[in-house]
């Protein structure tokens, strides 16, 4: 087998498509994806977009349609069943064995590998300590909380030292606070192990903080692949821009070094074209200024004071209201005129 543990195993998907139900349901369009060893790639997208299907193809639980191929390092594993691929998998529902206690669950993967008992005890002991589960060791699964189950599932998957770790929405079933805490734990764990990981989620916060790269998917297609920064600052489509964080849209006409929109002008220094365009910018990239000198003018519809910042809904710039976030301490009232400008570096222009 190629790919040492320290560097992680690279994964390569070549034109992997998936059709279910005798050709009726196209779950995944032909997908090419290369994941370098040790990298964490997050599959992100709305429900039903094919994230789980992609993960299951990597795992070997689903075979790609004819023509598709899966590589782990240099090995073609397309025809290899899941039990021979040496992966670790964490399921959304955990899939812990109810007939075994915590310790037996963690030891299962080592036991089916027929490892000597001393070695199993040593490794399981290590794992229990690492995951801080000392007092839970002999509990039955139904006596654990959701977060504890999650830890057991993770421990069980990594104790076998898999080539690749696959996680399918591992935190979705947990409450918000626990989710944030476990997210940090998982992040540390992945960095420490240096293992190649594919992480499925529909939560953009999770995706941004865990992923070295993010694959944004919709309707069985890849929309964009890139680092969290790429995806956030340079989305290549409206879909990606809207799915990651909130974003404002203005329709306008490009002319010269600016774009004319309903409420004024927006500078566009790199402009090479003229004609109809759509301008996207994020709420935090707007500076409020005096109405008399402002490039854009509108009317405050509502304002929400959120402590560290104020969120303003502004109308009068086309059919859709826009959102502005500001950290200044001014109080804005509904109906008031407001002037602002958009940071020219942060705008995204989509030509129509």
């Amino acid at each position: 087998m190629s790919g040492s543990r320290d560097h992680g195993t690279a994964i390569k998907l070549l034109s992997c498509a998936k059709t279910f139900g005798g050709g009726t349901v196209r779950a995944l369009e032909s997908l090419d994806l290369e994941i370098t060893g040790g990298e964490t790639v997050v599959l992100l997208g709305p429900s039903g977009c094919g994230k789980t299907t992609t993960l299951r193809i990597v795992a070997g639980l689903e075979e790609p349609d004819p023509g598709g191929r899966v590589f782990f390092g240099d090995d073609d594993v397309t025809r290899l069943p899941i039990e021979k691929r040496n992966i670790g998998m964490v399921f959304q529902s955990y899939a812990l064995f109810p007939n075994m206690n915590v310790r037996e669950n963690i030891a299962y993967g080592l036991k089916v590998r027929k490892m000597p008992k001393v070695e199993i005890d040593r490794r399981v002991g290590e794992m229990v300590e690492m995951m801080h589960m000392g007092e839970l060791e002999f509990r039955r699964i139904d006596q654990l909380s959701g977060g504890q189950r999650q830890r057991v599932a993770l421990a069980r998957a990594i104790v076998v030292r898999p080539r690749v770790l696959l996680l399918d929405e591992p935190l979705t079933a947990l409450d918000a606070i626990l989710r944030t805490r476990l997210r940090v734990e998982i992040d540390e764990l992945l960095r420490r192990l240096g293992i190649t990981a594919v992480y499925v989620t529909h939560d953009q916060g999770e995706a941004m903080s865990l992923g070295d790269r993010i694959v944004v998917m919709s309707n069985g297609k890849v929309e964009q692949i890139g680092t969290p920064r790429d995806i956030y600052y340079k989305p290549n489509s409206e879909f990606v821009a809207e799915f990651i964080g909130s974003i404002n849209r203005l329709h306008g006409i490009a002319c010269g070094d600016h774009v004319e929109v309903a409420g004024g002008t927006v500078p566009w220094l790199l402009n090479q074209s003229s004609g109809k365009v759509e301008i996207l910018f994020r709420p935090e990239n707007v500076g409020i200024c005096d109405v008399s000198v402002a490039q854009l003018k509108g009317k405050v519809v509502t304002s929400f004071f959120q402590g560290d910042r104020t969120r303003l809904i502004v109308g009068g710039l086309g059919e859709r209201d826009i959102v502005i976030e500001t950290t200044d301490r001014t109080e804005y009232i509904s109906g008031q005129d407001i002037g602002f400008q958009v940071d020219p570096d942060s705008i995204i222009v989509l030509e129509k």
Partner: protein
């Protein structure tokens, strides 16, 4: 003030129904240990009839137990994998097969027995062996085993459990014996008790299928009612009840699907904490 009245009348009614059902059983059991039934219990209590039953019919008891155990073995070997396959396949064919399996329960035992005799009666050695009765019993009890295991399988997410085991490197057989079987233990246990109880008590089929040398307990019972003193028949009933009681008790204990228990337990726990919270 209406409630106690309603409660007591319901209690009385329940007791009446119970008495109606249980008194004949008790009467019969008493008759089995009475010296002379016509003179009643004052003629004295004796174990004579019981000994007589054991003397004449001991081989029917053995045969019944042997068939029950063999029937259990066969239904386990056939039924559990069948349930597993049925649970795994979602197609129309699987559903049809599931319905088809229930047929032996719906069709009168006599008709099944007749069909068996017509089809296999020609094989003399087979016809006169207890294996012939076994086939009938397996046909009759198999659906109960399959249904019982199927019920548990469809209440746990066994497909994901199996995928989990496979992801950890377990081969098919390791998964089947290490994960699937232990997790449908409650269904297998309930099914087993059902199969043994039904097999020991089966009369319809067996009566048609038996030969003078292959009499089971219920067939012997009918025989003793027809040809023996009433006390002997009653003593025989007593023996039968003593044999079948532990099975019925076990059925009561394990027959209710136990797989739901963990959930119920955790529900209980949350229920308790929420109560506590309310108290605070």
């Amino acid at each position: 003030m209406r409630r106690p009245w309603l409660f007591y009348s319901q209690l009385a009614f329940t007791l009446c129904v119970c008495a109606f059902l249980i008194v004949p059983v008790i009467m019969s059991m008493m008759a089995g240990v009475t010296e002379n039934y016509f003179y009643g219990i004052k003629s004295g209590i004796t174990l004579r009839w019981i000994y007589e039953v054991l003397d004449i019919y001991l081989d029917t008891i053995y045969l019944s137990l042997m068939i029950a155990v063999a029937c259990l073995a066969v239904t386990l070997i056939l039924g559990v994998p069948t349930a597993y396959v049925l649970a795994k396949k979602s197609g129309r064919l699987a559903r049809m097969f599931e319905e088809f399996l229930v047929l032996p329960v719906a069709i009168p035992g006599l008709a099944i027995a007749l069909a068996l005799i017509i089809t296999y009666g020609g094989f003399r050695d087979f016809r006169s062996s207890w294996g012939f009765i076994l086939v009938g019993h397996v046909l009759y009890t198999l659906p109960f085993m399959v249904r019982s295991v199927l019920a548990v399988l469809s209440s746990i997410d066994f497909k994901t459990l199996e995928e989990g085991a496979a992801s950890l490197g377990a081969s098919f057989w390791q998964r089947f014996f290490g994960v699937i079987l232990p997790n449908c233990r409650s269904g297998i246990l309930a099914g087993s008790l059902m199969v043994v109880t039904l097999s020991v008590g089966e009369f319809n089929l067996t009566w048609m299928l038996h030969t003078p040398l292959t009499k089971t307990l219920p067939v012997g019972l009918a025989d003793s009612y027809a040809s023996m003193r009433l006390e002997v028949g009653s003593a025989y009933t007593l023996v039968f009840l003593i044999m079948i009681m532990p099975l019925l008790a076990g059925l009561q204990m394990f027959g209710t699907p136990k797989d739901r228990k963990p959930e119920a337990q955790s529900d209980d726990m949350t229920g308790k904490t929420s109560l506590k919270e309310k108290n605070l």
